[in-house]
Each structure stands twice: as structure tokens, then as C-alpha cells.
């Protein structure tokens, strides 16, 4: 404290450096510059006392790779550092991250307020599966900020939403909804898969827990399934009696109170100690390593994703075959100004557009593009397209589709980092087929 030559600015590592280094010290791993893949199920105990101490959370360390693994741990710390969070828990997929978050937060009889514009799998989790566990949800349209407030009940344990809704690109007013949640003494949980921490750090705008499908932009390569939950560390679990499983002695660990013992990391500690122990959706070390390779280039890729997306928006807006384009960079997008505030580094690479000619034209377009891949993923380095009404959201009935803001002419585009002219040329082939669907072979 006596070094007066120091500047008044902290010298902690910045985003691009953390993307490459956070969570890992080579000298503690035989000098290996690359993160080693600890392909093991379990870890030797020094003696009986050491084993007991690990099981009793008296000291840190690894026991069994379902609970934690050194390679996975590097990924967890890296994402926590990039998000500005206190702790993280990696999971086998984004869906298991959401499930584990809900099961750590809620018990049977509890309730959640949930944005209506979500990935189809997430909608089904909240609408159909969680009620089987006694957890009910009320859906609110993402732009209906006051609707979130009205939907809160006595037994509501949190608000959940995707910052930028899938696939309609509606943006939740995160700071205002965070205030609503905090006034009610409950946390705000944000799925920030579409943004990655390069575009938005939800903790800076009031979120308390962030979940990601790391499968998408964070990894980028489309090779590996992975998810993560990240804790912001600000939420006070002891402010009310809504979260007894966080604050009361827990029988599963000799009467441990997670909130008292671990404070800003309590949620992650409970999610791991209880959720990962009992449900077990652990991430494989190989997949964790694969995701780490992607994160090393996150900011480089995200810049290119966003610049390509903005080029594609201009191209689509000017195209005769396109009825409408939805992307937060479009000036008449309802959330254009909010996007500037929440996504200052770029508005993301997800574009929704309507193709003239409706469903048949959409099918012809999808079936005829050659470079763009037709598949059920987003956030790959390659350009991806899908027709949600017949793909990702196909399990929804007509009414649910409409409530989720979907239409039959909508094509969801995840813009890759290929040469922009190659993407445009490919789309020209698709649009030509869409204009004359019967004259083009259906390959």
C-alpha cells in the first residue's frame, strides 16, 4: 500500500488478454503452454483426511469429474472473468445450464416470470417440463417491461429471458427489468448466448445470473456442445425468506448455509455441490478444451460476425425478394436505441427476415443456398439459415408460434465470417429459386 509510484488505474488484464489467459497458470501444469486435457474421472486423495476435507468443502480441489475437472475449471474461470462474474459452472449444454439454474433457484410450488421470445427448446422446458417438477411459469412479451412486474407472484423466484429474443430480435429492457426483479427481491437471469460478453456484459446492466450455450459464438467452431451459468455476485440471498435452500442449513453438507459461507459465489457453489452432484450434466474435458480454443479468438470473430451482419442487413433491406428485415442495427427496429446502449460493440449476427412469397418461397430459398448451411444451430463461424416455423420452433402450435412472434415467411440467418460477397452471391441463388420455385431443382 505504500508504493506511491502507482497510477490510479488498475492494471488488471483486459478482455482480449483474459480470453487467452484467464483461469490458467502454466507453471502449475508442468509448464504446458496450452491448457492440458485432464481426461480422467477421478483424482487421488493424499490421505483419508484430505478426502474428508474435499467432500466437506473444507478445501478446494477435485474429487470426481462429474462435480469438477481441472480443464473444465479453466473454462469456468475464463468465462467468469470475461463476464465480470465471481464464479461459473460449466455444463454439458446450454439447456442443462438453464435447467441447473432453475433447479438451484426453485423448489416445487415456485414460479418464474419468463420472456415469451425464447429458443424453442427453452420454451418447452418452461412451458411443459418444469411444471412436472411443480414449477410454473408466466410468459411475458420481452418488450412488455411492466408486464414482468405484473406477472410477479408471492412465490416468484426469478425473471428469465434472452436479452435478444430468439428468433425475432426483440430486446428486453434489461436495466428496467432488473430493477423490477430487485424491487421484488428476486434475481434476473439472462441468457446472453447471442451476445457473448464481447457484445454485452449483463452484470453491468443489473443481471444476477447469466447463462450461455457455449456451443454457439463462444466456441464458434460448431464442434462441441457446452453450456455455462455465471454468477454476478451482487444478489443478496439473505435479504428475504424467499430462498431458504440458499440461506438455511443444508443437510447435504453438514448444515452448510451456502449464502453465509460463500456469499458472492453461493449460487454457483450450490449449483455444483447439489445440482451437479444430483443431476450430473457435466461437461467433458475434451469439449471444454474445444470451447477454450474458440474463446481465444472471441473478440476477433465477433467483430467480423457483426461487420458481416451489418453488411447483410443493408443487402437484405435493398433486396426485391425481401419483405422485411429485423436486426437491432436497422434504424426503424423498435429497440434500435436500446441496442445502442446495451450492445455498444455491435448488434450481433442474428438476422430475421421475411421472404416474399411466404412459406413456399422460404422452403425454396433454404433448399437452394449452397454456402449457407441449413441446420439447427446458430453462432457458427459459418453462415447458417433455418426456417423456424418448420425447424427450431416446429413443435409449437399456431397460437404459440404467434405468441413467440414468429411468422411462416421468417428466415433466421446466423451470419458467419466468410467473405461477405460469397454470402451475398449464395443468397442470390436462394432468392432466384424463391422467385421461381418450380423452375429450380430442389437439391
Amino acid at each position: 500500500m505504500s508504493d506511491k509510484k502507482k497510477t490510479v488505474d488498475p492494471n488488471t488484464y483486459k478482455f482480449d488478454t483474459l480470453s487467452l489467459h484467464a483461469g490458467y497458470q502454466p507453471h502449475k501444469n508442468a509448464g504446458s503452454r496450452q491448457v492440458p486435457i485432464y481426461q480422467t474421472t477421478s483424482y487421488l486423495f493424499d490421505d483419508v483426511d484430505h478426502a474428508a476435507a474435499l467432500f466437506n468443502l473444507e478445501r478446494g480441489g477435485h474429487i470426481y469429474s462429474r462435480i469438477s475437472n481441472p480443464t473444465v475449471g479453466v473454462l469456468e474461470e475464463r468465462v467468469a472473468s470475461l463476464e465480470g462474474g465471481t464464479a461459473a459452472l460449466a455444463t454439458s449444454s446450454g439447456m442443462s445450464a438453464i435447467f441447473l439454474t432453475v433447479m438451484t433457484l426453485c423448489e416445487a410450488g415456485d414460479h418464474l416470470v419468463v420472456s415469451s421470445q425464447l429458443y424453442g427448446g427453452t420454451v418447452n422446458l418452461f412451458r411443459l417440463t418444469l411444471p412436472k417438477f411443480g414449477i410454473k411459469c408466466t410468459f411475458v412479451k420481452p418488450r412488455d417491461t411492466q408486464g414482468f412486474k405484473k406477472a410477479i407472484q408471492k412465490n416468484t423466484k426469478g425473471i428469465f429471458g434472452e436479452l435478444v429474443g430468439n428468433p425475432g430480435n426483440e430486446i428486453m429492457n434489461m436495466p428496467e427489468i432488473a430493477n423490477i426483479a430487485h424491487d421484488a427481491g428476486i434475481p434476473l437471469i439472462i441468457d446472453a448466448t447471442y451476445q457473448t460478453p464481447y457484445l454485452c456484459k449483463p452484470f453491468e446492466h443489473g443481471a444476477d445470473i447469466v447463462v450461455h450455450s457455449l456451443t454457439k459464438w463462444m466456441a464458434g467452431h460448431g464442434s462441441s456442445m457446452a453450456g455455462i451459468l455465471v454468477e454476478g455476485g451482487k444478489f443478496d440471498w439473505m435479504q428475504n425468506d424467499k430462498f431458504p435452500t440458499m440461506t438455511k442449513p443444508y443437510e447435504g453438507y453438514h448444515g452448510l448455509s451456502f449464502a453465509e459461507e460463500f456469499g458472492p459465489t453461493a449460487f454457483t457453489m450450490k449449483a455444483r455441490a447439489e445440482g451437479m452432484r444430483d443431476f450430473g450434466p457435466c461437461l467433458s474435458p475434451q469439449n471444454a478444451w474445444n470451447v477454450l480454443q474458440g474463446i481465444e479468438t472471441l473478440s476477433v470473430r465477433m467483430k467480423k460476425h457483426c461487420s458481416n451482419a451489418e453488411e447483410m442487413v443493408k443487402y437484405l433491406l435493398a433486396h426485391e425478394s425481401v419483405a422485411w428485415v429485423s436486426h437491432p442495427s436497422v434504424p426503424d427496429h423498435p429497440d434500435h436505441e436500446l441496442a445502442k446502449k446495451l450492445l455498444p460493440n455491435g448488434r450481433g449476427s442474428m438476422i430475421a427476415f421475411g421472404i416474399k412469397g411466404g412459406k413456399d418461397a422460404g422452403v425454396a430459398f433454404i433448399n437452394n443456398v449452397k454456402l449457407a448451411s441449413h441446420l439447427a444451430n446458430v453462432g457458427d463461424t459459418r453462415t447458417l439459415v433455418i426456417h423456424p416455423a418448420s425447424g427450431t420452433h416446429s413443435q409449437m402450435d399456431e397460437a404459440t408460434l404467434k405468441f413467440a412472434g414468429l411468422s411462416h415467411d421468417m428466415i433466421r440467418l446466423s451470419v458467419g465470417i466468410e467473405d461477405i460477397n460469397d454470402i451475398k452471391n449464395d443468397f442470390e441463388i436462394g432468392f432466384r429459386a424463391a422467385r421461381k420455385p418450380r423452375l429450380v431443382s430442389n437439391q
Binding site: 480441489g61 467468469a80 462474474g85 461459473a88 453438514h254 456469499g263
Partner: protein, 272 residues
């Protein structure tokens, strides 16, 4: 658990075990602006191995009520009162950073009450960088960011937390921001800066004392810790390499190993 000291409610973690007045007592005293949670990787061990543990939140910090105490001397007296309040006549003290100043002063004032003293990142004086002090007293979060930067060594800056998934700097920062910065960190920093009695207090200490110092500690460098230790009659020094001021988290296992040996040797418990 919560109890009262001088009429104010105080919170202390008992390390996950019910507080048992029959067992020897170890009290852990946190550093400036922090809370009992900094000790989680030491307290649970002792609580499950024959000791009663109190990792306290100083007044106005963490889950304790009241206002922050304004001088190290006041904190030392308060710590003595805390021992009385929980029905003990003696205790072993463990301090980190500012907690070292408090425990040194307390031990010198109440020599018969304190049986062993363990100091982590301690020095006889902790003069504050004026910029840092000014930021903290003006409630600027940059004070916490600076403290976290300077307080952490390689583990803190790169990562590699002993508890899987936890990220050092952000966790520490969140602890220090859990209450109003000027009322916790600001008051604590001023108390540290004003305290001048550390070296004289050290000369009066006759009990076994352990100083754990870290080679990468920018806030209380090894040479300052050694200067203090040299003044204490029954002093032993352990140096942890490649580690910063937050050694109790950055190198929690190595710290616990040293602490276990020292306390179980010099303040043994007949309980298991």
C-alpha cells in the same frame, strides 16, 4: 451465528459447525473492507477438527450491524470484548492485513487472553497510498478495483482458484463492494494509515506467533513482514512464493498447511 458485542449485533461464521464453548477458540479477523468469507478455506478445516471457530465480520462489515470502528486501537478493544461476549477467557487469533494490526494491538493490550497469533500479509504499519485512500473515502469503486489489482499475485490475475469455478479478483471485489465503500474500506484505510503503534505493540508480544508472508505481496511486502516478525520474541516466519497479498485464497492449501501445523502444535485441542 449472530451475537452481541457492546450491544451491537455481530455476525461470525462458525465454519459450518455449531459453536461449542468447550472447544478451544480460534478467531479470524479479516482485512480492510472485506468480510468473514475470505477465510472459508481455513475456517471449515478447524471447525471440523476440534476447534470452535469465529470468522467475524467487523462492525459495519458483511453481516454485522453498527458502524465501522475508526481506529485499530478501538478494534483491538472490541475484539477483546468479543472474546468475553462469547463466554471465553482466551483465544487464538488469526489476522489478515488490517486484521494483523488489530490482532497485534489486541495481543499487546490483553496478553493473558491471547494464546497464539497468526499473521498473514502483516506488517507493523500499513501506510496508505494517498490516491487509494482518497478514492475509498469518496466512495469510488475504483478503490476496490485498485485494491484487488495490488492485492493479488499471479493466481489472482490469471486465475486458478483452489475452488473450481471461482474467479479471484471478481469475488474479492464483490466482497469489498457488499457494503458502502466509504463506510467500510474508506474507514478501514484511514484507520490503517493512522495506526503508528504496530512495532511497539509487537515488542510486547510473548506468545507463539506465526507470520505468513508472500513474495509477490505488494501491499505488505516480505521485508516489512520480516521487520515486524523480528520484534516478536517467539516468532516464526513462513514465506510463500509466487503469491500475492490474498494468500489465504490464492494459495489456500499452502496457507492452511502452515497454519494447521502452527496452531495444532502451539494451541492443541483435545477434541477431534
Amino acid at each position: 451465528m449472530k451475537f452481541k458485542v457492546n450491544g451491537q449485533e455481530v455476525y461470525a461464521s462458525t465454519g459450518g459447525r455449531p459453536f461449542d464453548k468447550n472447544k478451544p477458540l480460534i478467531i479470524f479477523v479479516h482485512g480492510s473492507g472485506l468480510t468473514h468469507m475470505t477465510w472459508v478455506l481455513q475456517t471449515r478445516y478447524f471447525a471440523f477438527h476440534g476447534y470452535s471457530v469465529l470468522a467475524i465480520d467487523m462492525p459495519g462489515h458483511g453481516l454485522s450491524s453498527g458502524k465501522s470502528l475508526k481506529s485499530i486501537e478501538e478494534m483491538a478493544d472490541w475484539l477483546s470484548s468479543l472474546i468475553d461476549s462469547v463466554g471465553y477467557k482466551e483465544a487464538s487469533l488469526v489476522g489478515h492485513s488490517q486484521g494483523c494490526l488489530v490482532t497485534i494491538e489486541c495481543t499487546s493490550r490483553y496478553p493473558n487472553k491471547i494464546k497464539t497469533l497468526s499473521l498473514m500479509g502483516g506488517a507493523g504499519a500499513i501506510p496508505m497510498n494517498p490516491d487509494l485512500l482518497n478514492l475509498a473515502e469518496n466512495n469510488d469503486p475504483k478503490a476496490v478495483d485498485l485494491m484487488m489489482d495490488w492485492a493479488h499475485g499471479p493466481a489472482g490475475h490469471f486465475g486458478g482458484h483452489p475452488v473450481p469455478g471461482l474467479y479471484h479478483i471478481n469475488t474479492g471485489g464483490m466482497l469489498a463492494k457488499s457494503r458502502t465503500i466509504k463506510d467500510t474500506l474508506g474507514v478501514d484505510f484511514r484507520a490503517c494509515d493512522n495506526y503508528k503503534n504496530g512495532f511497539d505493540a509487537a515488542k510486547k508480544i510473548k506468545i507463539p506467533t506465526l507470520s505468513i508472508l508472500a513474495t509477490g505481496d505488494k501491499m505488505c511486502p516480505v521485508k516489512e513482514g520480516k521487520k515486524l516478525a523480528d520484534l516478536i520474541e517467539k516468532s516464526q516466519v513462513e514465506i510463500i512464493d509466487n503469491c500475492g497479498h490474498m494468500m489465504l485464497l490464492e494459495e489456500a492449501d499452502r496457507v492452511l498447511k502452515v497454519l494447521k501445523k502452527f496452531i495444532t502444535t502451539n494451541y492443541p485441542s483435545k477434541f477431534k
